[in-house]
């Protein structure tokens, strides 16, 4: 059994975390602009140089850690970060390859290339928050958003880490790109811990059965949105 101790998100409806805001929804539309000041109180010089996908994911991770009381740190922590995504950093891929195309007086951009892997924002989050656990991205064509949560439960069961962030991150399909829209844009992360490190009261307990079904306090949950909404409902009751 593991506990959900933090929830953070950036969606079309806004950005925030579970103990601060009840307005959580994941829907189609335009994501809010993410500035450093809208997420971090302290200067974070590097943030503005990241690609949009990394800023989205990093912001949701920051809110989740703040919600769990784990955003401040002095020693490296054994915490993983697992994220699922459909489009990943496709927009950054396009931007980078446009610097490779012949004809212009430009060279391939190393700054853009550094963000053409969808796991790079996990590395940014690991650096900023001192997280040394497993960090990787999971890709499925269509998903309930629970893949990262399932992998988190496996990782904790196998002793790979004591706690982890798990969630989804997607900017949506790049504008005018010939792919159908799958899912909605936004990032949502949960902090899942075997034993809570801060004094925060957990939202609920998570278990997983052998079929990979995720249960919140013994009740099966169908997708990540439903899981987050149930957590927020329980907190407010």
């Amino acid at each position: 059994m593991s506990l959900i101790t933090g929830i953070g998100w950036v969606t079309v409806s806004g950005m925030g975390h579970g103990r601060e805001s009840k307005d959580f929804a994941l829907s189609a539309g335009q994501l809010p602009s993410i500035s450093r000041k809208s997420v971090f109180e302290k200067p974070y010089q590097h943030f503005g140089r990241m690609d949009e996908f990394s800023r989205l994911g990093l912001a949701a991770i920051a809110f989740a850690l703040k919600d769990a009381g784990l955003d401040e740190w002095t020693r490296m922590r054994d915490m993983g970060i697992l994220a699922s995504t459909v489009y990943g950093c496709l927009q950054t891929d396009i931007d980078f390859f446009d610097t490779v195309m012949p004809g212009d007086d430009q060279s391939p951009s190393p700054a853009l290339f550094s963000y053409t892997l969808p796991n790079c924002f996990l590395g940014e989050a690991a650096c900023h928050f001192g997280l040394m656990g497993a960090a990787y991205v999971i890709n499925e064509a269509y998903s309930s958003g629970l893949s990262a949560v399932c992998n988190a439960m496996d990782g904790i069961a196998c002793g790979e880490f004591e706690s982890t962030l798990a969630g989804v991150c997607d900017l949506g399909c790049p504008t005018h790109f010939p792919l159908e829209e799958r899912g909605v844009p936004g990032a949502v992360f949960l902090v899942i811990e075997k034993t809570p490190r801060s004094g925060c009261l957990p939202y609920g307990s998570l278990t997983m059965d052998k079929n990979g079904d995720i249960m919140l306090d013994g009740k099966k949950t169908e997708d990540l949105v439903g899981l987050v909404k149930e957590c927020l409902r329980q907190l407010n009751n």
Partner: protein, 384 residues
């Protein structure tokens, strides 16, 4: 699941296949590496005159089918060498850029299937080719992608959530990745020289591997061969930089520690190390630092296959697990192709020549962008 239950399932490898530019099957690859051959040659697939290197390890005879990505042709070639896969197998794939060649074509206004660009296209294509109907995911964690996919597959079996998992990994060399590594100054102008004093960067390579993992119970029930065991795995981050390794090797040290703990082994149980060994100055130094910290005075044999087949990115870990099983089976440490004058700390560990060995456990490691590190411990199985 109950605490402690996860170790009740032993994870066997029952089939392996690999295709690279050096050979179209694992046996051929093994023999050519033992001969000290390399497939790193001048690139003809795309123009390279603007870049800092002109060499890579490519399957220049790989033909793109219509508007599809080269990934289709590579998977087709791989599955011709792969044994039967149970239809209920859980599929875990690994790739860093999937069919990014199709993004290049679309930007050049050439017809191409955009679906192939998505990382999730790989499990989709592989499932269809193999007629699988079960769950399928792709893992993306830079150059540690397939080592992590092996770890995830092993965890699925160890926890009892699956009893057959096919791990399938691949990446192709495209102008996209070639130009990117060139822009970072990471490409060696000559075929890479892992752990050599004169090393000056990596050489890109393309390839694919498939590893059939089964619970011991199912493998025995179905009479499958026991080619080896995934005894332990560990994944850890540097929390240092997204494109440069932590020079103290802290993430790799932690990953190996987790793998040893997971396998319930001690450092002295490991007989040989298949290193990531990219040939970049900082990666190789970082690895040597980590191995010295972990194994102290022991002069464990270490090798890298990247001088022979290039850095196959998301496929590297899977191909190296396949070759690691071969190393244990043959009890021969393959040569580090490209090496002539070892780095100080590597002297006596790495060799340009094949050497006999004795031992049951091999450690294989990979590291990648994002500061990620993965370690897998393999146990010797029956003769391959």
């Amino acid at each position: 699941m109950a605490e402690g239950e996860y170790r009740s399932k032993e994870v066997w490898v029952t089939d392996v296949s690999a295709v690279t530019a050096l050979a179209h099957d694992l046996d051929g690859l093994w023999h050519r590496i033992l001969s000290g051959d390399t497939s790193i040659k001048p690139v003809r697939r795309f123009p390279v005159d603007r870049y800092t290197s002109r060499v890579a390890s490519l399957m220049e005879d790989l033909i793109r089918p219509g508007d599809q990505s080269l990934t289709h042709a590579l998977l087709d070639r791989l599955f011709r060498k792969t044994g039967p896969v149970p239809s209920d197998a859980f599929l875990v794939t690994a790739t860093t850029k999937a069919g990014i060649d199709n993004l290049e074509r679309l930007r050049h206004k050439i017809p191409a299937d955009p679906n192939d660009i998505l990382l999730a296209s790989i499990p989709d294509i592989a499932s269809k080719m193999l007629g699988l109907g079960g769950r399928a995911i792709n893992i993306s964690a830079a150059c540690a992608s397939s080592a992590i996919a092996v770890a995830r597959g092993a965890a699925l079996i160890a926890t009892g959530r699956a009893d057959a998992v096919l791990v399938c990994c691949l990446d192709v060399v495209t102008e996209f990745v070639f130009s990117g590594f060139s822009s970072l100054g990471a490409l060696s102008p000559v075929p890479c020289m892992p752990f050599d004093r004169e090393r000056n960067g990596l050489s890109l390579g393309e390839g694919a591997a498939a590893l059939m993992l089964m619970s011991r119970e199912r493998a025995e029930r179905e009479g499958m061969p026991h080619l080896g065991t995934i005894s332990g795995w560990g994944i850890a981050g540097d929390a240092h930089h997204i494109t440069a390794p932590a020079r103290d090797g802290r993430g790799l040290i932690k990953a190996v520690g987790l793998a040893l703990n997971n396998a319930m082994l001690k450092e002295e149980d490991i007989s040989v190390i298949s290193a990531h060994g990219t040939g970049t100055v900082y990666n190789d130094l970082m690895e040597l630092t980590a191995f010295r910290y972990l194994f102290g005075h022991r002069r464990l044999p270490v090798y890298s296959v990247k001088g022979a087949i290039g850095h196959t990115m998301g496929a590297a870990g899977g191909i190296e697990v396949a070759l690691g099983l071969k190393t244990l089976s043959e009890q021969v440490v393959p040569p580090t192709v490209g090496l002539s004058n070892p780095e100080d700390d590597a002297a006596g560990l790495v060799s340009p020549f094949a050497k006999e060995m004795k031992g049951d456990y091999l450690l294989t490691t990979n590291s990648g962008f994002g500061g990620t590190n993965a370690a897998i411990i393999l146990k010797k199985g029956e003769k391959m």
